[in-house]
Symmetry: C2
């Protein structure tokens, strides 16, 4: 693999830093829909964990001589549009989005992290570690389906809409950012490498839908 | 001073735990009004610090054999009403509320902490430590006033409205919670002690308004 230019690293860290900031926003917003104080506090704690990651990524960008705000800026519009177009209207939709949407994003960033040199590879893998959200979401969603089978159909549709939007938006982001595109192409090796990457991400998505008790 | 009953301690920790959770909510909401990504990230970090405090208080409640959600529940309505009735409509109003409102609340809790036995006294004083919000708010508000003198008058009115609402709501909470009222009365010694407590809190409020460049 050719060496990865610093600018591609900064792009990825910037995208991820902004993703953590929007994840914080979204979790904080969803927390307010929580049916119990315990659920609300749980989501608020997860939001705080995202900010801790954001802080780590910003610190690394500063270390690389890149202004974190400048590194995040190119990704604001795409990520905001994704969140605006997939705004959950219920507590359960929020949990499915957090689990399925974050799962997709995490898989994607983890794949790309594999192409990065150290210490950035470890940093990215570290901030992608689950903050306890997954177990919490799975538990709550399964319990809701057990209580009322009808919710499964609606949530399955919602999950499929999320993956569609996520794929569309991320392709648009990569198409607009040559350095990220180069990183992925040179990292995967060739078109069939990209195909396998997409397959791995899609398979993991299917597993997550099943874990929630939803038809993928 | 007579020994403080565990129940009064649980009341205070419960009120404070819920206050931290609402502070988190409010900061997260205000973060979205930030004019810059750097300002938004700063507020999000402060929100995360409030949650760290909430976690400490919840852990202590659990240690005392009290369910954190049950300890918070009696204070939900009063604190929510306060925040609903003082919802900032601009970024600057949000900062003034954070600085002036949190300052009032902090002074009040700090006074009561003085009546608590250890380790709860230290815990409360510890979670009340400033999370960097104060300096940030003062800097931003003073800069805005320097750029446009007109905002000072509007923000001063806003500050006075905040203190009025805060006083009304906290009196109502104390009136409804006998154990908290007993704690304050026995802690201050007598009515003139309560008078001096209110005077200290009011003086500190005046200082904060001046620090922002606002007419108290």
């Amino acid at each position: 693999m050719p060496p990865v230019p610093h600018t591609a690293v900064a792009d990825l860290l910037g995208a991820l830093a902004y993703a953590e900031l929007t994840a914080f926003d979204r979790l904080a917003e969803d927390a307010r829909m929580a049916p119990t104080l315990t659920g609300r506090a749980s989501l608020a704690r997860m939001a705080a964990a995202e900010i801790a990651h954001h802080v780590q990524l910003s610190a690394r960008l500063t270390e690389l001589g890149v202004d974190p705000a400048a590194a995040m800026a190119p990704f604001v519009s795409a990520l905001d549009t994704f969140h605006e177009s997939t705004r959950p209207s219920t507590w359960l939709e929020g949990l499915v989005k957090a689990y399925v949407g974050d799962g997709l994003a995490t898989d994607f960033y983890r794949e790309i992290a594999g192409f990065l040199p150290e210490p950035d590879r470890s940093l990215v893998l570290d901030v992608l570690a689950d903050t306890g959200h997954a177990d919490f979401a799975v538990r709550e969603v399964r319990a809701a389906i057990a209580a009322d089978r009808k919710v499964a159909g609606r949530l399955a549709l919602w999950g499929r809409r999320l993956v569609g939007e996520a794929m569309t938006r991320s392709q648009a982001v990569i198409a607009e950012h040559d350095r990220l595109a180069d990183l992925i192409v040179s990292g995967t090796g060739d078109l069939s490498g990209i195909g396998r990457l997409i397959e791995r991400i899609t398979d993991a998505h299917t597993e997550r839908m099943k874990a929630l008790g939803l038809n993928p």
